[in-house]
Symmetry: C2
Subunit: 522 residues, 2 copies
């Protein structure tokens, strides 16, 4: 803490910390729409939400993230407890379950920011502060039923986002992987590190992964070759059937248990009507230590960076001078997976020390989903019309020579509209000019102008004008309404308006090549 440069006010850089950003304007509208879409699906399945602190006691996070622990942000020691910013929403959830032992089952969602001191690639949604959208099911149930519902929920979400046919859920099972490693002859103490090597098959060819296993990790070449026969395979139910017929594998207790789970899962996913989005991918291993059963990862076009054959997977950022550098322009960096998760049956007991609560969950990478959606919108001309505020009526005044601005009258009308729950604005000028008032309404895409004039007011009337009507439309210049019926007249028009609000335009988004564009973005 010795580097504090004091209270100097003029010499500092005007910026946000590296790897973070401000969200504003249309980006906020699009991101909120993504949150709402996801939350609606969670609620459709009976989920409730909880909110945990942004920082946890440092000890709570210790020993949960393997070598990624170095990416945890710590708070300064200012006396009192040592704390760290949360790294994900899963460990805080497990801590919460352990602290609330009266809760034996729950479906919970949590949408909140998490923090990782990783090398950023901002335009690809890889940031140091980013949102996660988590859904987890805790509790003892019959096998694979919660697991199947999580994958059903995942498909409902990507359907609601308009991604049908444009994403793949890769699934695998930790017990199958462990069984394969045992059957192939991997020593018990090398299983986790060999598993990590396998996980790189989405970015590196088998030859490179084999080299890492044998040269870097000292695995016997024949053992590696045996592994290679399994882990390069991917497919659907037919792959599962092949493995079930594999006598060596079926004789292994771990593999057998995993294959039984997968059999049930496939049956349930078929009933749920989502099998077409699933790929049984034996190379999927997932980095985190705490998974114990089925694991999955959702990828889309652009998830993967462009790597030439033989090139190594990007290594984890090291503490070098340019670890802070943004990698948005690095073509080898993709958006990454847009959702991932799995079953973790032992994590809660790491905190409680006693009762297990089996859990299964998924985390949606909202910022990555946002990046892809944004690219899609950028290509769509209608997106230019996304409104950032929701005002329905702009209250204006108009008059000839000696016009005093009708400020009290505009305020009184705005008050009446607000009292009726109508979204309304007026110009904060005592004597605004009419063109300026129209311009303010147009800039924000306000659909109606309510125009006050001295003569009309004297006759107990004012004019309402729908903005943007074409030339020649009979109401192009607006029509007079009675001030005594102001609220009803305005409400009737606003409710009839029924042009889709521009927020709704985002709804039907499909992906096209947006993911790839996001991956290319510079």
């Amino acid at each position: 803490m010795g580097k504090d440069k004091g209270e100097g006010k003029s010499s500092f850089q005007l910026k946000v910390p590296k790897g973070t950003k401000d969200w504003e304007g249309k980006d906020m509208v699009i991101r909120d729409k993504i949150f709402t879409t996801i939350t609606d699906v969670f609620k459709r399945h009976g989920a409730v939400t909880i909110d945990t602190p942004v920082f946890e006691l440092k000890e709570i996070l210790s020993g949960k993230y393997g070598e990624d622990s170095k990416l945890i942000y710590d708070l300064a020691d200012q006396g009192g407890e040592l704390c760290s910013l949360r790294y994900d929403l899963t460990v805080p959830f497990a801590r919460w379950l352990a602290m609330n032992s009266q809760i034996q089952n729950i479906k919970r969602y949590h949408i909140a920011k998490v923090y990782r001191r990783d090398q950023p690639a901002m335009t690809k949604g890889r940031m140091r502060e980013f949102y996660q959208c988590d859904f987890d099911i805790a509790g003892v149930y019959d096998p694979m039923l919660p697991d199947a519902e999580i994958l059903r929920i995942t498909c409902e979400i990507f359907h609601a986002l308009g991604w049908d046919g444009r994403y793949t859920i890769k699934i695998n099972h930790r017990k199958i992987l462990d069984g394969i490693f045992q059957v192939c002859g991997v020593p018990q103490d090398k299983i986790r590190t060999i598993s990590s090597a396998v996980d790189k098959l989405d970015k590196s060819p088998w030859d490179e992964v084999r080299r890492e296993m044998t040269e870097d990790k000292g695995l016997d070449g024949e053992v590696a070759d045996r592994i290679g026969e399994y882990v390069v395979r991917k497919g659907g139910q037919e792959l599962l059937e092949q493995l079930q017929k594999d006598e060596k594998l079926s004789a292994n207790e771990s593999a057998k248990a995993g294959l039984d789970d997968m059999g049930l899962l496939f049956t349930y996913l078929k009933t749920f009507g989502v099998l077409q989005n699933i790929s049984f991918d034996m190379s999927l291993a997932r980095g985190l230590d705490y998974y114990t059963g089925v694991i999955y990862e959702v990828v889309t076009e652009g998830s993967q960076g462009k790597i030439s054959v033989g090139q190594k997977k990007e290594s984890k950022p090291k503490k070098t001078a340019d670890a802070d550098e943004d990698r948005s322009n690095d073509p080898s960096v993709g958006v990454g997976s847009v959702a991932a998760g799995g079953r973790y049956d032992n994590l809660v007991s790491m905190f409680s020390g006693k009762g297990q609560i089996p859990c299964v969950g998924i985390s949606f990478g909202v910022d990555r989903i946002f990046s892809i959606t944004k690219q899609r919108l950028a290509a769509d001309a209608s997106a230019a019309a996304i409104r950032t505020n929701e005002v329905d009526v702009f209250v204006m005044a108009f008059g000839g020579k000696g016009f005093d601005g009708l400020l009290p009258q505009r305020m009184e009308v705005a008050k009446r509209l607000w009292d009726a729950g109508i979204k309304a604005e007026f110009s904060w000028k005592v004597k605004p000019k009419l063109p300026q008032q129209f311009k303010a309404a147009e800039t924000n895409g306000v659909p109606f102008a309510l125009i006050l004039g001295e003569e009309e007011l004297a006759a107990g009337q004012c004019k309402i004008k729908e903005m943007g009507l074409p030339e020649g439309h009979p109401e192009k210049d607006g029509i007079l309404i009675d001030m005594s019926k102001l609220e009803d007249e305005v409400k009737a028009r606003v409710s009839k308006l029924n042009t889709p609000t521009l927020v709704e335009k985002v709804e039907g988004l499909s992906l096209d090549d947006a993911a790839e564009q996001a991956s290319k973005a510079s």
Copy 2:
């Protein structure tokens, strides 16, 4: 950072950091309702939202909070930039305006957590991590129009929360205060510290404040007495008129400007129909340095702790052994103000160094508003029925001897309901017992049971039963519907249900003596 106890997994305390809490269950539902209520009002006035990072560069926060700067949380120096957790949402907003100089005016709201290493009093909503709901207007406008709208918005929010008649908006003006100090003869370099002393009049009697001015701060007794004649006064428009007739005050440039502003403000507040909630309180000074014009604070019963006459105002927590102690049981600690703000015309230029953007805003203390609302609900029996999830249909199965649980059928029906956007659950058991299924539905207050039986399914039917119908009701045992019309039949019943969802029950909440209860809560 030398105190890290390493990766020991079994010896740590299972808790959240002091001054923070987990939010769950009904509390989350109530808090979300408060957020929605406030956000709806902001949007009614044309506000947009922005989202800034949880931490800022340390330099950005330096020199903005006076002596409260010691309450700022710093991040550990792990290499790279020095950062601090945000202390409020105002400074990040000003930083954002300075960085986005193309934006010359905006109405923005921001609902997010802020961080203060203060002494907590959890049940009174005084926490180290807490939510603020900010609304600010930036831009050059005619005098007092945005200021008046902020106060109108404040009244709309407390009206929507059901607090009519139970809160007071204290207002004052920095320029009037400064004018009074000048007129009374306070030396220029003592104005800020004397202003801080005046601010304590809400908790301490004049004698104590006078003693602080003269003994602690070395002010001449006669000067203090002259101040005393002004700052103990409070009232409405009549007080303003008295001050406008005060020749000494009117001759002071600063006081004159402040009085002119207040005159306009009262006119506008009258037009907006909110004057009944306003108290012109000359003792209100507000702690922060950056206010330049009108200032305000919203108080309610219970805002103030119980202080016996002559007792000193609670001093700011010092770095002593028990600065971490929760003060919920300390009767001298009240909930505090539930909203506060003012005009700050120079803050943005502290960052940009060039163009000023005048701003005015208010911050709602949501956690304090929550504490009061929660106490109110605790006294209300109907609150017991607040639902935490929103499921409308529980899909069940029932059968006699040899019953196989109808799992695929239950899944298929749930899938159809989800596809139709209906919120539905089913038991994750292969062969669940009927009483268990009913119990699960009842626990969550699910309004409809959809009961599948082999015979009914064979006839293309299933039974729908509204839960909780009284004995003797003709549909008490449910009625049969055609499976071919499943979605329509369910939707028709759900939409007719129209018992207010229990989320809506919170809507009409009024306060009663809830604030006082919150203040007493232990």
